[in-house]
Symmetry: D2
Subunit: 366 residues, 4 copies
């Protein structure tokens, strides 16, 4: 019940700080018999890795994952899988200034107020570096899904940077890996590149909206009332650093619809129900419909910026701060693989829960 864990049956506990010796994920509840090795997980970490282009932090980390337990002769054993990533770029620097001042928008002040401990080294536990452990766990979840539900495909992409939205009419999913923003709209990606370059040079940052879709999820997953699939997805995404909003399907825009507009009409297809639209984002009453699961989340702008802001010190003196250092002008970019990882973990978890609680008692249609 302590609170660095998520998931019910596929349960992930992340540990570690930005500048400690290592960080990682203790994954309990992975099904046995899943083929896995470090390279299968590394591919997802490489997607999130910093320093890959000029739009992400220049911190140099190989983010090499080691599997310390739970795997024998290339297969999971059903026992806890320990995924460790050593921190190699713990560049020594003078933290003196940051150690005393609270950076606005960062968790410095609240961690101090809560814990009475000030780990000023790059945010300590509240650093976005923690998300590397999530991505490692998500890689394991994807491998398990590959065995249990091979039809499921999970994909994340950026749909908005600052106030600039990609145009769904121009989406081409093949574009996603071709630009540094994982954006399915090539034109938007090109515009964003110019925009973000200007922001980066001026020491400014900006927010973003990420969409993550899971295709091929069977109907019936989700555990009402308080472990609903959407509830767990909201929780998973909101737990990512800097996220301020989460939407399922039409999300906040659902408020503006009428009941007639919002009703996803149902017809019968050759393999079961077919829906005329997907306002629901693939979830009704907390349970998957078999349509695409669609989740969006908003990431606030990176709080580390070069403009001077008012703040205070631990001793309560008013002062100013400029946050120098290696930072992302749009931390939302690296949130894409993190969102995918959380989706993979939640979907796997609900597959296991459904298998445990329901077995094959679910109802057929037709």
């Amino acid at each position: 019940m302590s609170l660095n864990s998520f998931g019910h049956l596929f349960r992930v506990t992340t540990w570690g700080e930005s500048h400690g010796p290592a960080l990682g994920a203790t994954v309990d509840g992975c099904p046995p018999g899943v083929d896995i090795d470090e390279s299968a997980i590394q591919q997802w970490l490489d997607k999130r890795k910093p320093g890959q282009n000029k739009y992400t932090t220049q911190r140099r980390e190989p983010d090499a994952v080691r599997i310390l337990s739970g795997v024998f002769e290339g297969k999971t054993t059903g026992t806890p899988v320990q995924l460790m990533i050593e921190n190699t770029d713990q560049r020594s620097k003078d933290y003196g200034d940051i150690a005393e001042k609270f950076r606005p928008g960062h968790a410095d002040i609240t961690y101090w107020q809560k814990y009475g401990i000030r780990d000023y080294r790059g945010g300590g536990r509240s650093s976005a570096r923690e998300t590397a452990a999530r991505v490692a766990a998500g890689g394991l979840a994807r491998a398990a899904l590959g065995v249990l539900a091979p039809t499921i495909q999970i994909e994340g992409y950026m749909v908005q940077m600052g106030s600039h939205r990609a145009d769904p009419a121009k989406y081409d999913m093949a574009e996603i890996p071709r630009n540094p923003f994982w954006c399915p709209d090539a034109q938007a990606a090109s515009d964003w590149a110019d925009y973000l370059d200007r922001l980066r040079k001026s020491g400014e940052s900006v927010g973003a909206v990420i969409e993550v879709v899971a295709r091929g999820v069977p109907a019936g997953l989700g555990a009402p009332i308080y472990g609903k699939l959407d509830t767990d997805l909201a929780s998973a995404m909101m737990s990512i650093n800097a996220v301020k909003g989460v939407e399922i399907g039409d999300g906040m825009a659902a408020a503006a619809l009428t009941g007639t507009e919002n009703a996803d009409e149902i017809r019968m297809g050759p393999d079961g129900p077919v829906y005329g639209s997907n306002h629901a984002g693939g979830i009704l009453g907390g349970i998957s419909t078999g349509q695409d699961l669609v989740v969006r989340f908003a990431v606030k702008p990176t709080s580390s910026i070069l403009s001077t802001r008012q703040t205070i010190t631990k001793s309560g003196e008013e002062t100013e701060i400029i946050t120098k250092g290696r930072h992302d002008p749009c931390v939302g970019i690296r949130a894409v693989p993190v969102g995918e990882a959380m989706m993979a973990c939640v979907v796997l978890d609900h597959l296991l829960l459904h298998r445990g609680q329901i077995g094959d008692a679910g109802g057929q249609i037709g």
Copy 2:
């Protein structure tokens, strides 16, 4: 771990269906020594009660709560509090049609696919009636907060109906109880009344956005990384029937801000840190800052409408459906006290967690 419970130390399990003999909340972990009686809980249930004006369902339920355990001589004992509400208006009617057809937008189809059981009586467990149990639990949470943290005030109100938004510049919190929409903008409430009346007469429905604020919450509450205060609030609000999006502070709009705009600057006041703005909605790194906690959630339009929609039957035949019966044209209205109840439960839970895990080890400023 089964999934009709929420909360960590203040743990609420709701039970019951729309048309069963009763429903309720089993509340485990309420601190001992809290003054409570049924009337103190009833006041919140009365706020949510159906049939109070023409904008809510005409089902007539007294929603009278009984305390069956956990209270002795007017005080909580520290043992589980059972709050039971009997269903009195189980009007007998012909469900034959609904029993076979799935209502679009409702959870009929997914419950069937998951459980293989079709409780067609008003939605069964997926009915919004379940939220009465939440409100009862929230009433107990408020009573406990009254003892543990009397400065905390929780208030919910509607800020958008359909595409019509209230204007924050016109907010007068004294207006909230004066109109049927719990809207702080008197002009908006008046406009909404006309609008909703037209919708109601045409058998149509519409969505809404609710905002819930908790004032007076001390800094330091929240349990990173996966039991963050915002994570738990997102989960709590997303679990409410028909909710499709949750925002903290600026929410989805945070994506459009720059880092400079988003930084809530900090100065020193007589009683501690004072912030120049509250884009963060009172939460940094998952921990409360001491500013107002601000949560918003979008409720989709009621799925029960009088327009004809395409659907299928259990046996897979295509058909049409019109959902007659007693329903709310804007179920968001009654979601206001539900959102307040969830906020009360989450804040109390994190107060208890903080006391347990941290005690008085938190840091002082100045």
Copy 3:
């Protein structure tokens, strides 16, 4: 996580006090589609019911269970099942004396020290009456086992009363329902009757040892390391009022064996492994072997006795106490169905867990 619940996927929360209006069990996670009605549960409550013979308390309670939720048209729906038992014999009496004095061996003093609340009405929450709720939940678990694993048979019986042990060489399982002690040794039961009669008349009480066996449990159940089958059984049995020791298989006597004596040798039978003995009580490494699960627990003597004992009052004054009232000379008798209920809940829970976490990935032999 609050602590009136047990079980992982089949999760039972009991609530209620000895002298409140009602008590019950909120059961979350019961599989859907299980045939159940009140009479199927009532049969087990009747087995535990007080006042059935002169050896159990003369409190007259029908202990009639009502199903308030989670069942529709005679089948479980997969949603929470609320099992409520109203307290009818809340005989008014003068508690003045007990309200001030702490009864030695009872939880009066520790509940006061913990909660600062003194519910003196028959022990309040710490009364053995709480076990009625367990038996109701166990009845539901048995019904679910009847569907999921019909080979499983659960049976409890008393093997020791005071210092008098039944003789395994004389066990005849058909004897169990024929004597008031659920004892498989007819001679022992006869001796115990005389012995207990003398104790009862002198206002004395005595302890007992109960054994519960589950036959037909498949190999492979149990979740190492901290949700082992034996760990969960130990926890379940130790949570029963007045239990002071729990044993699996040879239990404490295993300490006196050599490795050669203790090894349950394995041979191959027509349907899988066959063991030459069952020192292990059907569990190796926390996982079921397919042999009988064998659990024993010791119940201390009822603390309510007619002999005068030294004690103190709430205000710290030394005094004496005699506990009058309606009490069991050997509370272990009624612990038999309670132990069975806990066994049923634990076995069902682990069946569901295994199904969720492992599916059909388990290994075959031969």
Copy 4:
């Protein structure tokens, strides 16, 4: 909820196998501000370390612990503490025989039946080596107790080896560290040395009983009904490898007492209630009385022995087995520090729970 974790607020997840690269404990919920370094934990690991005398396995492991997270500048930060122990003595050997045969009394067969994976390297996850991680976590718990409740002292010792019991009349707690059995009875320890030497030379093994006492525990800890202090202790001790029975206070012997004998009479001392005896082992109704907490557990004989036993292979063929290798003739010896570690974790956990759920609402006497 996955099942390699224990504890509610002080939550320990152990991971790792006997012959993998490393094993460890992920400890979530340790209070912040606790002084800790690796040497403070190492002292307890050294107590458990194999190869210290001729009575424990000759496997040579330094069992050096590394703190990978959660500690900054010598103090816990309130974030997860990762304690890692690398396996250095992974001596290469021919497992061919063991890889096919199931060792009687070991978990080989049940792990295979459950997981369909056979990690034959020294038992894999079911090896007693996992207990090193518990001892590390217990070392951290002791450090936290040193801050939160410095009066608490935890001590374990062996009270029975095979059928030879130590004599409580001869207990001298100063003897405990002076003999290899942690036995408070010097004469018994001397006798056991001869006895165990003979067993060791003949390739035989024997069981043991360990007692663990916690002194100075305040009254009021424990969370009825299903997170009782005794319930959690029973669970914690039963989860240790090879444990078959757990007792609180008089334990199984309580069955033979009368109510008069069993009543721990209460008088008033200068600092609160004083008890005339401690049959209850310091727990009434699941809550601590302020007396010594007394727990005992029985460890079965090591299953690895040199005598030939009947068994089967994975393919179902009957065969014989002799378990060669480096093993403990009495694994109970090294269970002493493990039992202490579990006691420390449980007591700390309940201190935190009490602080969270009750605060200072507990009742005073006098």
